[in-house]
């Protein structure tokens, strides 16, 4: 059976670009954060603190589940840039593929990574906090949030990457972006009345915050209209960014880069 072109591209992404060591690091690092940060911070945080539900690890896990969409986006950005750096973008574009299929291939690879990462986070946290009480609606919201978030972050990094011709500059921007996106969100901590206003504004300007909050509410069984609105906004942002990346691809000169 001959696979459709975009599926062949997804297969190639997995076979060619992802060696076992980098996959282990990719999933091992956030798993390490869940376990070590969870264990070390739980005693420091008051069990009566309503914002963390009294158990920091239970608070952290949905954050790290949602954070997988960012790590997935980083995977897409890395794959794209490695392909550019090793002239495979040019080689693939001269083959029987549409540019949009290459882009879709990257996004689907990202999506698979993000969902696998989310599953691994849940498994790692299982001995400490058990399985979350996810309803069917909650499960759908989590899956949809991760899917849309993955499209958003992979689209964002690819759109940035397609505008640049220097690998060094791209990887610097990616590292800075990742740093700000994760620390200016509610992945590790909630926004409370004590949070400085400027930081609260920045945190609420970050799409990851809405994704984390929706996942956290789904895990706690507290889904409300605000989560569906967040999902809708994330969907619109994801489509807009994906469109921007697709536009960047149309005009992309796939020739050699630094």
């Amino acid at each position: 059976m001959r696979l459709p072109p975009f599926a062949r591209l997804v297969l190639r992404n997995f076979v060619s670009n992802l060696d076992p060591v980098s996959i282990a690091v990719r999933f091992g690092q956030p798993a390490f954060v869940v376990v070590v940060l969870g264990i070390m911070f739980t005693p420091l945080i008051s069990s009566s603190d309503a914002t963390t539900g009294g158990n920091y690890m239970a608070f952290l896990v949905p954050g790290m589940v949602a954070f997988q969409m960012v790590l997935g986006g980083v995977v897409a950005g890395n794959l794209f840039w490695l392909d550019r750096r090793w002239a495979m973008v040019e080689q693939i574009f001269s083959g029987p593929f549409l540019r949009s299929e290459y882009l879709a291939g990257l996004v689907v690879t990202t999506l698979i990574f993000s969902l696998a990462g989310a599953g691994i986070m849940l498994l790692v946290a299982l001995p400490f906090v058990g399985l979350p009480a996810l309803s069917l609606e909650g499960t759908l919201v989590v899956l949809a949030t991760i899917a849309l978030g993955s499209v958003f972050f992979s689209g964002l990094l690819i759109a940035v990457g397609s505008r640049l011709r220097s690998a060094n500059l791209y990887f610097t921007i990616q590292a800075v972006l990742q740093y700000f996106v994760v620390f200016l969100s509610t992945v590790y901590y909630p926004v409370t009345s004590k949070t400085p206003r400027i930081l609260a504004v920045l945190v609420y300007g970050n799409p990851l915050t809405y994704a984390v909050n929706a996942v956290r509410d789904a895990f706690a069984g507290n889904l409300g209209p605000q989560d569906l609105i967040s999902l809708g906004v994330l969907g619109v942002l994801a489509m807009a960014i994906f469109g921007l990346a697709a536009l960047g691809f149309r005009h992309l000169d796939p020739g050699p880069v630094q």
């Binding site: 696979l3 190639r12 076979v15 060619s16 090793w86 002239a87 040019e90 574009f93 001269s94 083959g95």
Partner: protein
């Protein structure tokens, strides 16, 4: 009389500008038929690579028209690309072993697993990469990597193959092997467009050659036509049995009367060499002169003009400047 076969590639005033008025090449009018090998020659920056990138749809032309394998170059898209092969100048590779690279590339092109495996074996043997099959391509030498690039592209079926300097950095044996294989594939009907700076191999391989300079085609023809048209003088060496002694000045004088196109290169006691555009008459004259003086000839050679000499004759006449502007 049978109608002329439809060309598989035809360009009409094709051009590409990086920005308005700044052309990489323009007024490109090329034709290629099935089974034909067309060489694109030119100095660095002449526009060959950009031309290949446009003809393989990597860059959109900014003027003119082209049909490739029956498809319009701009609208042909995937259907067109599915029938061409491209070995680009920049090395491209995946992060797996040489063997896996070959099979993965074939799978990417939709070649079934069995065919991919057997073709990979064929290519590994043909391009002498069997010992490197388990190595990563970046661990290979420059020449091996180039062989690998060509081998990988030949993993899928195609009607037209673009090769942008495929033999750069290859040793003579590897080059001969690749050229021989390409010639065989062309005889089976594959059309090939080939760029190179090694003019000797273009002479051996190409049915026709287009010489590009400053983004335009200076001239086009078979290698023989180009050598005749642009080659200039041929070099003649006459060696006598024993030194000429007192007869030497007479020979020199005779050669000096040979006309403007004759240039004396070297005079030795038993040998003389010169260049001339049409040396046949002079060679006959020397032969008769030697016979009349009882000076037997030990050797008389006329070296043909090489494509490189013809090429230099063409491009050195053009002043440096910008493509077609």
């Amino acid at each position: 009389m049978a109608p002329a076969p439809e060309p598989i590639l035809e360009t009409t005033d094709l051009g590409y500008a990086y920005r308005p008025g700044r052309f990489a090449f323009r007024h490109l009018n090329l034709t290629l038929h099935r089974g034909e090998i067309l060489g694109l020659l030119g100095r660095n920056g002449a526009g060959k690579t950009t031309c290949v990138r446009v003809l393989t749809t990597l860059l959109p032309p900014t003027e003119g028209k082209a049909r490739v394998l029956g498809y319009d170059l701009i609208r042909g898209g995937r259907a067109l690309r599915a029938r061409i092969g491209v070995v680009l100048q920049a090395e491209s590779l995946d992060y797996v072993t040489v063997e896996r690279n070959l099979t993965l590339y074939a799978l990417l092109w939709g070649v079934d697993r069995e065919t991919a495996r057997s073709r990979a074996e064929e290519m590994l043997t043909l391009f002498e990469l069997e010992d490197s099959r388990k190595r990563k391509p970046w661990a290979l030498s420059g020449g091996q990597r180039r062989r690998f690039q060509v081998a990988r592209e030949l993993m899928h079926d195609m009607d037209l193959l673009f090769l942008d300097e495929p033999t750069a950095g290859l040793d003579a044996v590897a080059r001969q092997r690749i050229l021989g294989y390409l010639k065989k594939r062309a005889q089976q009907g594959l059309g090939i467009i080939f760029t190179t700076h090694i003019l000797h191999e273009a002479d051996l391989l190409c049915d026709r050659i287009a010489v590009m300079e400053l983004g335009t085609v200076l001239t086009e023809g078979t290698p023989e036509e180009l050598k005749q048209r642009h080659g200039g003088a041929r070099q003649v060496t006459v060696e006598f049995v024993g030194p000429l002694g007192a007869d030497a000045p007479a020979l020199t004088e005779m050669l000096r009367r040979g006309g403007e196109s004759l240039t004396l290169l070297e005079e030795a006691p038993d040998q003389v060499s010169f260049t001339a555009r049409n040396p046949e008459a002079m060679v006959a004259q020397i032969s008769m002169w030697a016979q009349s003086r009882g000076r037997p000839l030990a050797r008389l050679s006329v070296r043909e003009v090489t494509l490189e000499e013809a090429f230099l004759g063409m491009v050195q006449k053009k002043p440096a400047g910008e493509a077609g502007s």
